[in-house]
Every structure is written in C-alpha cells, then in structure tokens.
Symmetry: D2
Subunit: 265 residues, 4 copies
Amino acid sequence: MENNDKVTSNRVFEGDYVIIALDRKRKWVVRIEKGKELHTHKGVIDLGDIIGLEFGSRIKSSGGTIFYVFRHSLSEAIYKFKRATQIVYPKDYGLILMFGEVVPGSRVIEVGVGSGALTAVITTYVGSFGRVYGYEINEKNLRIAEKNLEKLGVLNVVELKLKDAREGFDEKNVDTVIVDMGDPWEVIPKVYDVLVGGGNIVVFVPTFNQIERVVQSLEENNFGFIRAVECLLRDIEVKRGAIRPSMRMIGHTGFIIHAKKLAKY
Amino acid sequence: MENNDKVTSNRVFEGDYVIIALDRKRKWVVRIEKGKELHTHKGVIDLGDIIGLEFGSRIKSSGGTIFYVFRHSLSEAIYKFKRATQIVYPKDYGLILMFGEVVPGSRVIEVGVGSGALTAVITTYVGSFGRVYGYEINEKNLRIAEKNLEKLGVLNVVELKLKDAREGFDEKNVDTVIVDMGDPWEVIPKVYDVLVGGGNIVVFVPTFNQIERVVQSLEENNFGFIRAVECLLRDIEVKRGAIRPSMRMIGHTGFIIHAKKLAKY
Amino acid sequence: MENNDKVTSNRVFEGDYVIIALDRKRKWVVRIEKGKELHTHKGVIDLGDIIGLEFGSRIKSSGGTIFYVFRHSLSEAIYKFKRATQIVYPKDYGLILMFGEVVPGSRVIEVGVGSGALTAVITTYVGSFGRVYGYEINEKNLRIAEKNLEKLGVLNVVELKLKDAREGFDEKNVDTVIVDMGDPWEVIPKVYDVLVGGGNIVVFVPTFNQIERVVQSLEENNFGFIRAVECLLRDIEVKRGAIRPSMRMIGHTGFIIHAKKLAKY
Amino acid sequence: MENNDKVTSNRVFEGDYVIIALDRKRKWVVRIEKGKELHTHKGVIDLGDIIGLEFGSRIKSSGGTIFYVFRHSLSEAIYKFKRATQIVYPKDYGLILMFGEVVPGSRVIEVGVGSGALTAVITTYVGSFGRVYGYEINEKNLRIAEKNLEKLGVLNVVELKLKDAREGFDEKNVDTVIVDMGDPWEVIPKVYDVLVGGGNIVVFVPTFNQIERVVQSLEENNFGFIRAVECLLRDIEVKRGAIRPSMRMIGHTGFIIHAKKLAKY
C-alpha cells in the first residue's frame, strides 16, 4: 500500500528514480539519495535537496543553471536505455503496437530483444495481466536488456530467454509475435505454429531485400492481409515568428510489415 | 468467469462481435447470431455458420468468394467507427501515447472527443486501472462516440461529458491532457490547472498558424520542453518482384505538439 | 524575323497557341483564330476577342466567369500533353537535368520517349545548339510524342526513332543517356558504348527490384559514382490564417539513378 | 574555333578546369598545368599527367589510390562553390526552373544572389540568348558570386548589381523574377512593375511565417495562380542485397512559392 502511495504521489521520495532535465536532449536518470550528487557540465546538484519536491519543479545547480525534475517514465527510460544494438525508433513503437493489436492483457513474443527498448514498450502496454516472452541469442544484449527493464520496474511481466527462436518457441497460442532480427524468414514457420488463429505478426526490417523475402515467406506460410509501411517523423522548429520543419531528420529506420495468421486449407 | 473464458477463447461464440474480411480495405463488423446473414457484393454469409470457428478461418459466401473471420480488436473497431468529424489518424495515435506518457493506470483528459476514435485508443491503453475523461461540446458527436465506445466494450473506463472545457475541468491532478479542438490556446490555462506537476499536454492541430498560437500560449502558461512533430506514413506495395512505395499517400493530417507542466516561479 | 518578333512580344497574335486558365488545375491550350470559340462549363469564350491582349489579361466568358490568358510555355504544354503512358513527374525533371548534366548544347539520348513530356523538357534545355535522340518501340506512343513536341515547336532539335535501343544506338559520343523503360539493364551495355568518357546515365525506375538490377548492371559495365534518390513533392495550402501541407500527395513516382561512365581497365 | 573545339573535345587540354574525384563526396576542381600537383590525404597527383587523357579516366596518386577525371560541369561547379550564405539546394533548382518557366532565351532577375549557385543554374539554362540580372546588397557576397561564376565561364550572360532591389529595378519586361531574401514582401510591388504580363515570380523562403506574408503580399499586388511546395530528397543506399533509404536526410531547406502577374482591373 505504501508502495502504491508512492507511485501515485506527485512528490519525490528517497529511493525514487527521477529525471533531471536541462532541455529535451540533456537529461539524467538518477536515484534520489541523501548525500549523493549529480555532476553536470553546468554545475553540481545535491540530490538530497530534491526529496519532497513536486515533479515539474525547478532546481538550481551550484553553477546557477536551472534544471527540472520529472517523473521517470517509459519514454524517458527508453531514451536513456543503455544500447547494445541498433534499436527500433520511438516513432515506430506506436505503429508496432497498433498493427500488432498489442493491448492490456495480450500475450506477446518478441524475437530479437536487443537492448530491450521495444520490450519495455510492449511490456508496459500489455500491463500486469499480459505477458511478454523475449528471445535473444546474444547473451551480452540480454543482460543489458534485463538491467534496463529492471530499472523500469517491469521485469515481472517479461520472460527473457537466451534462446534461438529459429529452433522453435516454448509458448503456445500467443496473440502477437514481433520480429526484429536480420533474417526473419528463418523464424516465420515457427511463428505460424505459436500464434493463435488470426493472430498478428509484425516484422521490422531495414532493407527492401528483406521486405521481399519476408513477404515471400509470409505468403508461403499461410499468412495473409499483409501490409508494409514506413514512418517518417519530422520535427517542427517552434521558434516564434519562424516556424519551420527542422533541417535535421532521420531519413530511414526500417519498414514495418504486418500480417495475420490464416487457417491452412 | 464464463465471460472471461470467452474473451481468451480463440473460437467464435454466439453474441460476439467479429470482423469478416475480404481484404485489408473491405471489412465488416458483425454480431454473430444464428439465423442472421451478412449481405455483401460478393454474396451472402450465414453468420450462424461461423459459431465455433477458430479466428483466422476461411468462410465461403453464397457467391463462392473466400472471406476470413478475425477477432474484433481495437484497430479494427476504430477503422469502422462511425465518424462525426475529421479524426486523428492511426499513424498519430502511437505518437500521442508516447509523447503523452499514457500508460496503464494513467488518468487522462481528452478535449474534443469527436467520434471517439482516439478516445478508444487511450481508453484501451490506460486499462482498467486508468481513467479517461472525455470533453465534447457537440452533443451529436458525443452520442456517436458513446455508441462507438460501447461496441468496443470500454465505456466503463471513460466518462464522456457534454461540456465546454474552456470553462474549466471537473478533475484534479490528471497525468495527461490531450487536446484536439480548433482553438486549443483557449483551454491551455485550464489545462495547466488540472495537470499534476510535470504532467503532459499533447495538442493535435492541422495548421502552422495553430502551432504558432499553441506554442505562444504554452510558453505564457508555464509549460516547457515543447516539441512539435508531424508524422508521414508511407505504404509499401509488396507485390513480389515489384516492391515500391505506394503512389497513394496522405500528405498531411496534423501536427502533434507536446509540452510539460513546469512549476511557476 | 517577323516570327521572332512575335515570340518576344507580350501580346497575343492570331495563330498563337495560348493558355486560357480558370485556376491552377483547369486550363485549356487553344490556337487563337477569329471566329473560333472555346466552350467551357463556365461559359463560352470568343477567341477572336483575345487577339492583341497582353498576357496576364482577364477575359470574361459568356457566363460571366473570369478567365486569364497566359503564354503557352513548356510547363503548361507538358501539363496538357496527350498521354500514352505513365510519365515521369515534373518534380523529377529538374533532378534528371541536374544529375544528367544536361545543359544548352548537350547531345542527349532518351530511351523510352513515351508521350514526350520528358523529351520536351530535355529538348527545351539543350536549346538550338543541342540535340536529342529519342528511342521508342511503340509506334502509337511515338506519334503522340511527335504531335506533342510539334505543338511546342521543338521538333527541329529532336530526332524521334521507332527503334529498340537494346539493339544499339546510331549515335556516338553523346553526353547523356536518359533511360525510362521497364528493363533498363538490357540497354546499359549499349549505353556504355554510346557515351563519351565520363558521360552521364540517368535511369528512372518505379521499383526497388529495378534499382537493384540497374545498379548491378551499372557496376558490371564500368559505370561508377552511382547515386539513387527519390523526390517527394508536398503542396502547401496557402489559405491565409490556415497554412498547412496539403492532404493530397503523390506518395511515389519513381527512383532516379545516376552514374558516370568510367574508363575500362 | 580552336576554343570551341576544346569545349566539345572529350580529352583534357592544358588550362582546362577539371574535376578530380575520389568518390561522390570527395572531389577537387583543379586547373590543369604542367608541373602543378594536387595534394590529397590519399597521395599526390601530378596534374601534367592528366593532359590528353579522356574524361572518365583513372589516375593513380603517389599513394596508389585510384582517382577519376571528369569534365568541370555546372553540377560539379555548384557543389564546389565558395559559399557566403545559406544556399538553395540542388533539389530545389529544377523546381525553380520549372515553376519560373526559365528556358533558353529567358530574361530573368534574381534578387539575393548570395554565393551565386542558383545564379549559375539560371545563367546556364537561359543560355547565350538569355540574360540574368543579379541583385545583391552584400558586397562580399557579390564578389564571391562573381568569382564563382567567372570560373564557370558564364559571366558574359549575367549582370551582377550591388543594389537594393527594394528601391526598384533598372530593367523592364523581364520574364521571371526569382527572390531569395529574408523579407520578400518588401520587394513584391517592384517585382510586379518589372515583369511582363503573365510573368512569373518564384520566391524561396524557409519558414511558414514567411509563406504567409509572401502570399498576402502577392494577393495584394495583383499576382494570382499562387502555389507553394516543398521538396524532400531521399537518398537510397544501393549496396547490393541491402537496398534501403539512407538514414541521413535533409529534413528541410525551404518552400518554393510561385505566382503569375495578372492584369490590374
């Protein structure tokens, strides 16, 4: 109960992970403890001073610079995840959720956990009634993902497995399988077996050649209703009197392919 | 319990809403009843025949055309929502969730419910521990939204209000406010009051002139960490041997503006 | 000489082709003759009345609607070209010129003339000291192109050939070859032979599979400095107080591939 | 005559400007002289050795690296222009030509010459029968532009003027005016006066606020048929077996606004 109070409280308690932010790019995830300090290039912040503050508060560093304290959230956590591998970008997460029909209570397999950023998103949105099974063949990645997810407090909903999905899955009748690996076609026949009827597969690949092979494999393995998209995110600079799209833009991350498991003849 | 069994079952029960699909564009939401029929331009389907089928199954119409049966999901539901107004597009939903830090358990206000499509998304993702408060000034819209959300079975998590948000909100300390109305700046001072410290506002507007006024109002009302983006979704045609971006594309829906409530000096 | 005067005059002479425009989309190319009429859904215009008017002038139809008279230009002509085939889009013309280093005086081969729209652009920009050789295997297309280019008055600079470029070219040492056909790799070895050292090939293809085969063929045939791009054009609606990108947008026309002929070892 | 021979020759003569290229990004513009050397991080090239070589030839540096010799062209020249200011991007040049209806023989005014890159394009395409008048208020810019255009050998077609276009133009009845300055609305009434009837104005601006003011000014000054666009260029990486859009992309340069001079009532 006490724990629950903390969660819903809007003040900082000792032991909380919080975000200290200078601007949208320069942020720190810190655990609040009396006597600890955060050292930045804009001066030192005494973390003990933050206890009891409301989120959104200003704090001044020893150098006189203003920082803000924010709740440690999913978005902030992902942004700060220690990264082992190229990750799917935030702009793609929402589409993957939508296409995959991942909702609270869903049982989802993720093939290719990487540093766990997408895992964190899925885990958050399936909620405490859902379940995520994360397959990863690189042990170093898996450890990084585990640490990242632990910090976010969602390890209880996810099972991380150091296992090659190409050899098959341990689960049955999952709602959705999300695949983020270099040769997704190698795992698609197994994905068919592990999905419920009408279940969703979502594949993330960077190249056209991969789209081609994924689509061919989906068609050969009784998947249908195939759709592939890409998502371009553009920042708009909001300087007053000079609103314009930003010159900096990520031109490509990857393509998202969605299909549904159909009954065999 | 029995109800819960049905939810997790992968077979069609009498009384279920299901999707009958011909392809990605031509789909029907139907309630399964013995003796009822679905009439399409490709022949008639006897809905009673569907009872007991697994999702993903094929069914043949009287005209010999193959249709598929899918679970009635959030994505499908939205696609079929009766529309009163221009709606935010699915490509934008995920970004709104991410920017708004809307997660299971969140308490969210939506200003401008429209036909309830975005409401359905938010409601789904805040889950049964969360709460959504939907403000709408047009009674006709509100009735359509209510019906749409009822069909999806999420009315219990949302409170729809026929009320002008410009006159203030009834709630306190909500985590996120999502604004989809023509003159969002009129409601921003009230949004400040209703948010927790560090809470999130997400505004959806179609024009640059609106971006400018929203940003100005956010700055004047102690919001900070402002970011504006737009999202372009491109379909890739996956015909084997001829993979290419689709010629058809929606060039613009709107801009998503995000900011955080900061403490007053 | 008299003819030359007419060209530089800013008034309409009898016999001129001019543009009658209602707005950016609704335009007519007409030849001005006394006693002839233009019939539109907004009323009739007596073409004899236009003689002697300055370009940019208003004319009122019998229905009282205002139309404008403009010079018959390259851009307008292309817009109105009778089309036999899918054409390269205006947004791509400029890039093709730039990549192909097509300038006044250039000698250019075009493979796949189609309806002659791109031919018209190239022909215009190589000018009277340049030369364009247009290869086309479909006779119907070639006749349409011929008519289109004649109307524009540039037939003297172009040689249209009903000939399969895969069997080789009649020319030697051309500066640039522009290829717009379904299987460009079939013609690339011949393109190598017909180009000057360091000369430019520009290929326009709609699919990724074609990019792959073109690039492979270019590499195998001693072309280098390969670059492929695509160009997205977005209209901005300029209604005052409501500036926004247009919802309508062409999502894809094709990819432009450029390479340079390198010496053989 | 002899000079003309050199221009059409495909071999390098002493005194020629040529391009020495390592790849698409690393290029040098050099004047070929016996006894001169080009020093690169990949070794030294003896420029005298290049005399008599065909364009497209390989040359080996002292370090054993292969370079290529190409003709010094418009595209290459612009790429290497000494830059005083932010320039319009090559992707936009073609559109400006098309919208402006700039063709061989056109008489064009450019307001805001900057480093002369767009001037070089216009000058090249109006050809020897056309004429370009370049207005620039910054003397340093004008000197840089002059040098850039001289190197390209097109100074004879252009008149560069150190003059504020807001005070009016010296010319009469020009076909097209291209405006690339911060406050284009200040010059639009003068542009109206200097254009022929039905003549074209093309304005390049980076922000939405500028679009709004430009459009308002155009409407107030009897321009019509207004259109505004932006152009996004995406590079495709053509590594065989891994074709994909490039991650690097310029998200925005500016908007291109086109309008036509209409007769006053």
